[in-house]
C-alpha cells in the first residue's frame, strides 16, 4: 500500500501519510473535491495534505499539520504523489484487468 513518510526536523517525529476509502469518503462528506482541489492550489492542496493524516494520525492538530506543510520544500512533488494516492482509491474500483495488447505505449525521444 502506497504511503508517504514525513519526518518533523524539530523533534524527528515520523508521520505516515496515506488514504483509505474510509478517509476518502470522510473527506468527500466534508466537502473535499479532488478535481476542484487541484485547480485551487492555495486552499485545496493543503486540504488534501490534511486529509492524508486522517488514516494514521487522526487526532493530529491542524496547526501542526499547517506547520509541517509550510516546512515541505518540494510541495509540487508531494502534491502529485498525494493526488495519485487519493485517486488510486477510486481508480482500482473500476480498472480493467491489465491487458498489454490494448495499452498505448509511449517513450521520450531526443
Amino acid at each position: 500500500m502506497a504511503t508517504i513518510k514525513l519526518t518533523d526536523p524539530e523533534n524527528n517525529k515520523e508521520y505516515t501519510l496515506g488514504f483509505s476509502k474510509k478517509t476518502v469518503k470522510e473527506m468527500a462528506r466534508n466537502g473535499f473535491d479532488i478535481s476542484k482541489a487541484v485547480d485551487n492550489y492555495v486552499i485545496g492542496i493543503p486540504d488534501l495534505f490534511t486529509g492524508a493524516f486522517l488514516r494514521y494520525h487522526r487526532g493530529i492538530k491542524q496547526n501542526l499539520v499547517d506547520e509541517l506543510w509550510e516546512m515541505i520544500p518540494n510541495k509540487a512533488g508531494l502534491t502529485e504523489k498525494l493526488v495519485t494516492m487519493f485517486n488510486e482509491q477510486l481508480d482500482e474500483l473500476f480498472s480493467d484487468p491489465e491487458d498489454d495488447a490494448k495499452k498505448v505505449m509511449w517513450e521520450e525521444v531526443q
Binding site: 500500500m1 468527500a28 462528506r29 477510486l90 481508480d91
Partner: protein, 157 residues
C-alpha cells in the same frame, strides 16, 4: 453494464449521467455492498489495500466461470441419467429395461498414459527372440550351402 447482466455495479448503469456531478462518498457507499457480495469484508473494503477490489473482481469472474462449468456438468449427468432410463418410457419398444447409469463419475483430470513395464518387458523379449531366429536362419543357410558345396565337389571327383 448491459441491461441483461446481473446488477453488480448499479452505478455503472448510469453511464449516460456520467457528466453529472458525482458524489464520491455516495459512490463509495453504493459500491460497498457490491464488493461485499463478491466476498470482500467491510474492513477490507474501507481500510484495505487499494488494489484489493481489482483482485476480488477477477476472483469473482473466475468463480462465475467455475459455477457455469458446474451447471453444465450437472446438465450432462442429468442427460446421461435420462438416456439410461429412456427405454422405460418408450411404448414401441419390447424391452423396457433401463440401461445402466454411469458406474463412475467423469474423469475430470485424466492422467497421461504411460507404457506399462509389462509391455516394455514383452517388447524386449520379442526383440531377443527375433535376433535369435535371425541367427538360426543364417546358421542354417550357411550349413546348407556348405553341405551342397561338399556334395558338388564329391560328384565332380
Amino acid at each position: 453494464m448491459g441491461g441483461g447482466s446481473v446488477d453488480l455495479f448499479p452505478y455503472q448503469d448510469k453511464k449516460e449521467e456520467a457528466h453529472e456531478e458525482v458524489n464520491v462518498a455516495d459512490l463509495l457507499d453504493k459500491l460497498c455492498p457490491d464488493y461485499m457480495a463478491m466476498g470482500m469484508t467491510y474492513d477490507e473494503y474501507w481500510n484495505g489495500d487499494a488494489e484489493l477490489p481489482r483482485f476480488y473482481r477477477e476472483a469473482h469472474r473466475l468463480r462465475r466461470i467455475q459455477e457455469n462449468h458446474n451447471a453444465w456438468l450437472h446438465g450432462l449427468y442429468v442427460y446421461h441419467a435420462m438416456s439410461s432410463v429412456s427405454p422405460l418410457f418408450r411404448d414401441l419398444v419390447k424391452d423396457h429395461t433401463a440401461e445402466k447409469y454411469l458406474e463412475q463419475p467423469f474423469d475430470l483430470y485424466p492422467e497421461p498414459k504411460k507404457p506399462s513395464t509389462e509391455q516394455q518387458e514383452q517388447d524386449a523379449k520379442d526383440l531377443a527372440n527375433q535376433a535369435m531366429i535371425k541367427d538360426w536362419v543364417k546358421r542354417a543357410n550357411r550349413l546348407y550351402e556348405e553341405k551342397h558345396s561338399k556334395e558338388g565337389k564329391a560328384n565332380a571327383g
